[in-house]
């Protein structure tokens, strides 16, 4: 039987890849019996979904006006060059 520390690794790996059936069953059984690992797995899922959309929720980070101007100018130049080809 695997202990919590190993289950934690398998839960993480199982989020990105398909584990063999027997291991998946063992993880499932462990999560049914172990409150800490069950909570851990739930929290990882929550973290994963938050991570996928975090750029929508941190509006305080934005391009500075200087950066915007610089990008705008570079774009103009690059587009001008390509249309001249």
């Amino acid at each position: 039987m695997r202990h919590c520390k190993q289950i934690v690794d398998l839960v993480s790996q199982g989020m990105e890849s398909k584990l063999p059936w027997s291991i998946r069953m063992e993880v499932k059984m462990h999560l049914l019996m172990c409150k800490n690992c069950y909570r851990y797995a739930k929290q990882l899922k929550f973290m994963q979904s938050e991570l996928k959309t975090i750029e929508n929720n941190i509006a305080d980070t934005a391009l500075t006006e200087t950066a915007k101007k610089r990008i705008q100018q570079s774009l103009k130049l690059a587009i001008h060059e390509t249309s001249n080809d």
């Binding site: 202990h3 919590c4 520390k5 790996q13 409150k35 929290q43 950066a67």
Partner: protein
Amino acid sequence: MTQQSPETWLNDHGDLLYRYALLRVRSETTAEDLVQETLLAGFLSWDKFTEKSSVSTWLVGILKHKIVDHFRKHRHEVKQVQADELADDILAYQFDSEGHWQVDLVEWDTPDTQMDQKQFSKVFKLCISRLPQRMADLLFLRAIENVPMAECCDLLGFESDNQLWVTLSRTRVKLRQCLNTHWFEQG
């Protein structure tokens, strides 16, 4: 189809692209450059845009490729940061010698109002920024962008799939701990 120009995109989607890039590359100038490259690439391949997706989704898709390219170009810089990953390895794991949790985990009350969500995302961002560089890179490239295993190992300098899995797991343990301490235990 409406007339599109990179300059309008910059105003409409520039900040979103910038945030997306900055979270992943951690350098303001690099993130700005990536935004610029993305807008230009979008302009040059505008004929490939289909209205099945929104312009912003389409631009983020281009940015993803640019970010992976960026990691390809800077592969050699990876090796040096591996030391700080190992240094607090023990801290990252809260298990006793038999592999059981030392402290019981508490249930998380997930953010349920918009204000809560904003505050939470701030803390989340802070926790991500505290991760050793390679761990953060791994989290984004593998767990969010789904870059294939072999390429992830190659880009980030992992010697085996197993080493990558273990590091990804530790990254999540660390991130969970940081969130737990700075958000969920604060009440």
